[in-house]
Symmetry: D2
Subunit: 252 residues, 4 copies
Amino acid sequence: MRRIDIDRVGIKGILHPVRVRDRSLGEQHTIARFDMAVSLLHHFKGTHMSRFVEIINGHDREIDVASFEAMLVEIVERLEAEAGYIEMHFPYFLEKRAPVTGAKSLMDYQVALIGEIAGTKAASRIKVIVPVTSLCPCSKAISERGAHNQRSHVAVTVRTRGFVWIEELIEWVEAEASSPIYGLLKRADEKYVTEYAYDHPRFVEDLVRGVAARLDAEPRIAAYAVEAENFESIHNHSVYALIERDKGMAAA
Amino acid sequence: MRRIDIDRVGIKGILHPVRVRDRSLGEQHTIARFDMAVSLLHHFKGTHMSRFVEIINGHDREIDVASFEAMLVEIVERLEAEAGYIEMHFPYFLEKRAPVTGAKSLMDYQVALIGEIAGTKAASRIKVIVPVTSLCPCSKAISERGAHNQRSHVAVTVRTRGFVWIEELIEWVEAEASSPIYGLLKRADEKYVTEYAYDHPRFVEDLVRGVAARLDAEPRIAAYAVEAENFESIHNHSVYALIERDKGMAAA
Amino acid sequence: MRRIDIDRVGIKGILHPVRVRDRSLGEQHTIARFDMAVSLLHHFKGTHMSRFVEIINGHDREIDVASFEAMLVEIVERLEAEAGYIEMHFPYFLEKRAPVTGAKSLMDYQVALIGEIAGTKAASRIKVIVPVTSLCPCSKAISERGAHNQRSHVAVTVRTRGFVWIEELIEWVEAEASSPIYGLLKRADEKYVTEYAYDHPRFVEDLVRGVAARLDAEPRIAAYAVEAENFESIHNHSVYALIERDKGMAAA
Amino acid sequence: MRRIDIDRVGIKGILHPVRVRDRSLGEQHTIARFDMAVSLLHHFKGTHMSRFVEIINGHDREIDVASFEAMLVEIVERLEAEAGYIEMHFPYFLEKRAPVTGAKSLMDYQVALIGEIAGTKAASRIKVIVPVTSLCPCSKAISERGAHNQRSHVAVTVRTRGFVWIEELIEWVEAEASSPIYGLLKRADEKYVTEYAYDHPRFVEDLVRGVAARLDAEPRIAAYAVEAENFESIHNHSVYALIERDKGMAAA
């Protein structure tokens, strides 16, 4: 056996039903994909893979996200490790109202919780991918009519110092886009979002800077990464931007 | 052993370098993913999986597409089967010129050749996925300014009776879209495609009907399926349409 | 406008929470991806895309699968179409007990309901993808020790004439594999499944024939397709087999 | 405009034909997917997206990998940036000989070149994903016959100080696996790899430690990450391990 420390060893890609706290309903049912790992010192031959699966299945049939940090503590204890790591990815649903008619529909957002523990120090991040409309300012400026626009994904990953709702992260992104998007839009709504996007052109650079400025101003955010990818309607490739920042103060 | 005929048995997902005929360069190098199968009668326990791999590797390092039909004959002979099936999927590159400045760039299209042989009767289909811009006629009509638009994939699958270039299929689709898309566009080009798309709004229904009408009129096409999927810029879902037709005459 | 009938036009890829009937719990919460379409006659310019989204959102926050056929009727009525089509794909969880220790864990299976209606005639199919172990009989026979084995996906799609539980389809497949697979296995269980798989070698041909024989014998099954794909542990490609059969009697 | 520096802004997902240096043939043709970005200071509103595409298309129709570092210099110059970033991902083919019969076949490996430049300091990394067989030592030890095994992906990412062939990275990984895998294996070869894997059981921990030990000993490697993922044949999830190390000396 080679006496080499292993940074992470564990399981990847287990699906499990979960319940997630939800600002309007109290909680919602969804399905999460889990990746779980621990560190392994050089003098141990291997870890106990089945214990990760026991930890997932040892909770209620549906894992409450409140128990996410408990699971982080549990993996280092039960696997006798110095450090632990959990990612859980799940679709999260918001009921949105169309901007003019108020027609209701659900829309899904991909969310991840990413937790790390080393010794007794735990830290976790939340990531949300928010699909929005982006409309190109250059195309609008140079064209006599119209402007190319497209679906974009804005991914925000934050380390917080205080509770932040997933809904808040979504709102901050949507406020910086050319337009939020919706499951259901009637005619009057479609007119509204078309004109709204035309009146709010945003480069990919504008998207990430706008969200970064909000996160800079928000005291509950300790560190963040903001990425935007526009699935260009006039090309067969994307344009992309990224801003990362650690505000350098102690995290919650 | 259960004495049941098997419709298809073979291998899936082998990558191999190929050369493909190309209208402007003569040929181009690309990478194909192969699926190959034969039928198996109830009195045979199993097929010879390694022979599929030998057939792929028995040709030159790079398989010429001209040898595609030969491979179809070869699999039924070497695997002693009544029927054979090959799919090969590959990216295909066209050099396109931007519409105003003429700036050159390559653009990739996903192409598939799908061949079937039963006894001595072989038939093959070509499928091309053409990314284009679609601009929503409704959004344009009801809005005072702008119109939502997005990248769309139009997939055309044809059985031919006579030689058809991949380039022709691409041209037929691009002519029916709100606008073709390009790898490289300069300012003058971006103005042009923005206004062109605004002047050519197309519903997903229009896209499939427009391409179907061209394929109906083209005597070299024996049967077809046209699908369009718009990755809506105002929703988190796609809109989709499909027309399938067999002209009912003998195929090549 | 080109006066051409469209076979299918609708929406693709909407996620929505659903409740599904479950043999042991009564029902379970999961997340489904919906594709919905209708036919469109040549004299209509387009369909009403927003109505599909209204139908999904018009039910409870969680769609009951019992309402699947009702939705099929609803789309043709509300979209004034001759034919309708719905696919819903979702992960489905079973609690499994490890074969020796009885240790409990959930395992996920990908399930699809596929419904079609034409006039007043509705038909639906269920598809389940069952991950199993396959162990190669040839490798076992020729080797002095060991035998290559791997994860395989067996996909069963059935048209029924009478109620069939998703759990029954899963059991039929697992009984024909080299071994079922599990979320959680302790040492004694791992020994058991290793030896069980070694004692039940199965070619990809055996997998599809075994399942086909069961479906042939089951009167509640009217038609089926069985596919198996082995993600070969000794190759970088899969082996694959398919049997399709329509028993030719009236479907439920 | 928000005066915020952007870490990376550019394009994502452009496909382009490339030529790559190859130890046995001199070079091979393949298809790469490019991601390219630069940094952007707070006083610039945006970058020039079309220049990335010009740089890709300004080289020969097929980009030589020798020109990869030149492209890195070119993007910071032409985009007037302080830092630049390029990733190119491509399938790379090796001709392998089956271990007993010597039967030849190609096998594909996913390769990435990842280059960064900041000021005049450029550094690049190579990543190769090597599919291998892993056979479980625990399953072998506790079972009277057989042992579960599966396809595994070992991903090695290295920063080098001196030229390293892609082929060398592949060889180092394959030597640490339970067995290399092949496109084509005849009966005698299948017997050989089955017994060889049975005689070389490896946990996921062993895979990453074995490769790490080789990279530790190799003076041309300055830093590395080794990841292994086993697509477990007895579970519906993977097991995973990671070792990362920077040897802490100046990179080439």
